[in-house]
Amino acid sequence: MESVLARYRNLIVLMAVLFVQVLGLGVQVRRAAEDEPSRLIRIWTVSAVTPVEKGLVWIQSGTSYLWHNYFYLRGVRAENRELKEEIERLRVQQVRLSEDAEQARRLQALLAFKEQFISKTTAAQVIGSSGSAQSRSIYIDKGSGDGVKPDMAVITADGIVGKVLRVFNSTSLVLLIDDQSSGVGALLAKSRLQGVLRGTPAGEIRLENVTNDQAVQPGETVVTSGGDRIFPKGLPVGTVSKASQGKETFLDIRVKPAANLGKLEEVLVITQKDERTPLLSETAPSRAVDVLASRLPSVPEKPVANDPGKVTTGKVTTGATGIAMAPQVDSQLSKSVVLGTTSRSAQNSPAPAVRSPQVNLTTTVAPGGMATKAPANASATATSQSKIVTNPPAVVKSPTTQKPVPAPALTVVDNGAKQVPIQPKPAQSKPIQSNGQSKTDQTPRDPAKPNQSAQFPSAKQPGQGQPSQGQPGQAQAQEDKPQ
């Protein structure tokens, strides 16, 4: 017996080692569905390998930074000039797009849509990969200590990258979207067809579950659908590179990823998402057309009547969005943007403006935006007691019919007691040349249309909104007539 064992010792050891590993594999496959913590051997290996990788990446990025920022500055001036021109082009484009976005948000708010917002991201550097073509995953230099958790989305500026699979103390393993075990809810941007994005063993990406009877063209953009509860809706995924009839009832759609998955250096981990309904108030201060009007020098300024009686001051509540959209616009201009119309004329109004101590910004409301027939000496009182609220609720109840109606876009809170809807004047249409296209920046608002931000609901109480001259402390709104 001993001689047999001695003779086949090596073979027996081989069988024993293989048996143990096969047994271990079986146990892991059986427990694959369970959410088990990382095995010790993974932690050891990652702890041994990733510090070296981090060090090398640090040295590499430091050297690259030194080279590009201190030594290799050839062509920087020309590049800077080109970038400035690009910024100007993008600004105009941004204004056009934000008008559409604002309209979409307004409609979403009216329909009580829930939307996911990316509220917090963590930048991370890619420090390593799995080293196997069968396992398409990368390691990033952020872990549980940085707030990273499993199933968080990882993106770049170009498009989605993958999701966090395992988290260690200072590193995380990210499963790329081209791995065969990956799955992302996606939809075609043009046709709005939904499908599931999966990787193939060869490293390609396929959009599955789109039936054969649908027409899908190469070049069509693919975005996330939000159905996987990992990636927020609307993030770019890639473009359709090939679409053909599949073997079964589904199309064989190949997708070229928007992010270069083979050369990832920096990524963003979405560490916090908010799911909420877009508020109408978010859109009020950031009317794109007004921002555009404030930026373009071709917009003619309207002369303002020098009537001290048509001046009021007050506390204006502004949303953060409007200011953020136009950071270079001065405070008065921003305020005028909030008020809706005749933004530039507000600056040039010769009417006296009273600065209130508790008010951040003094607002001089020109006749184009709102008229108040209060005596000039009453303006100081009005400053302390009245304010203009630009964050109205989406829907209010009509005092007469008790039915929900859209709230006014601008409301003067008068002494904290009465709410006076403000009737802005219909804005003038001005042609704007943008990228060779003529565009009307402001169309006159139609009070009959409920979706317009400066629309006037039937929530007007009798007696409110009527001019009450000579009553100090009451800022009264009056319908401004077009001039």
Partner: protein
């Protein structure tokens, strides 16, 4: 009397210092994980496999070879998101086979090294394919042309790598 194709000098058993025994496989694992990010084509190479073959052939001990392959394979598995053991089993088989062949063949010759590495790369891929498909249920594609050229590329790299690692050999 067993017939071998090795000379008296070629059956010399080598050993390695502890830093080399630990450091070289770890360095191979590190490079395997790091280089494909910078050089995308590098993913066709399998440095841990080459290191396993080298140590197994140099030590000429089957137990030592299979244990080296097993440990290197398990460490490689632990860097992936797949179950641990797929690479472990494949490299255990390769370690055992390489050390068995090292006893009988002149493995100091560059041509032999190229052929042996080519052969064991294919064996490794076949075992990996069988385990991944049969035991784990992974969808793994098999392409003979791809495996052939990958094996050849690994063989060429192996010739240079083995010549480099020869400097760490110590005669027993």
């Amino acid at each position: 009397m067993p017939i071998t194709y090795t000379s008296g000098e070629q059956v010399e058993v080598y050993r390695f210092s502890v830093p080399v025994t630990i450091g070289v496989p770890l360095l191979a694992l590190f490079l395997q994980a790091w280089l494909p990010l910078r050089l995308h084509f590098f993913s066709i190479f399998d440095l841990p496999l080459l290191v396993t073959i080298f140590f197994a052939m140099a030590r000429r001990s089957q137990v030592s070879g299979l244990l080296t392959g097993s440990i290197v394979g398990l460490l490689q598995d632990s860097l992936t998101h797949q179950p641990i053991g797929v690479y472990g089993i494949a490299k255990t088989v390769v370690g055992y086979g390489a050390s068995s062949l090292g006893i009988k063949l002149d493995v100091e010759n560059a041509g032999t090294r190229l052929l042996v590495t080519w052969l064991f790369y294919v064996v490794h891929e076949i075992v990996y394919f069988l385990v991944a498909r049969g035991l784990v249920g992974l969808t793994v594609q098999w392409s003979w042309p791809h495996e052939f050229w990958s094996a050849l590329a690994n063989g060429l790299v192996g010739v240079f790598l083995f010549a480099l690692l020869d400097k760490f050999k110590r005669r027993t």
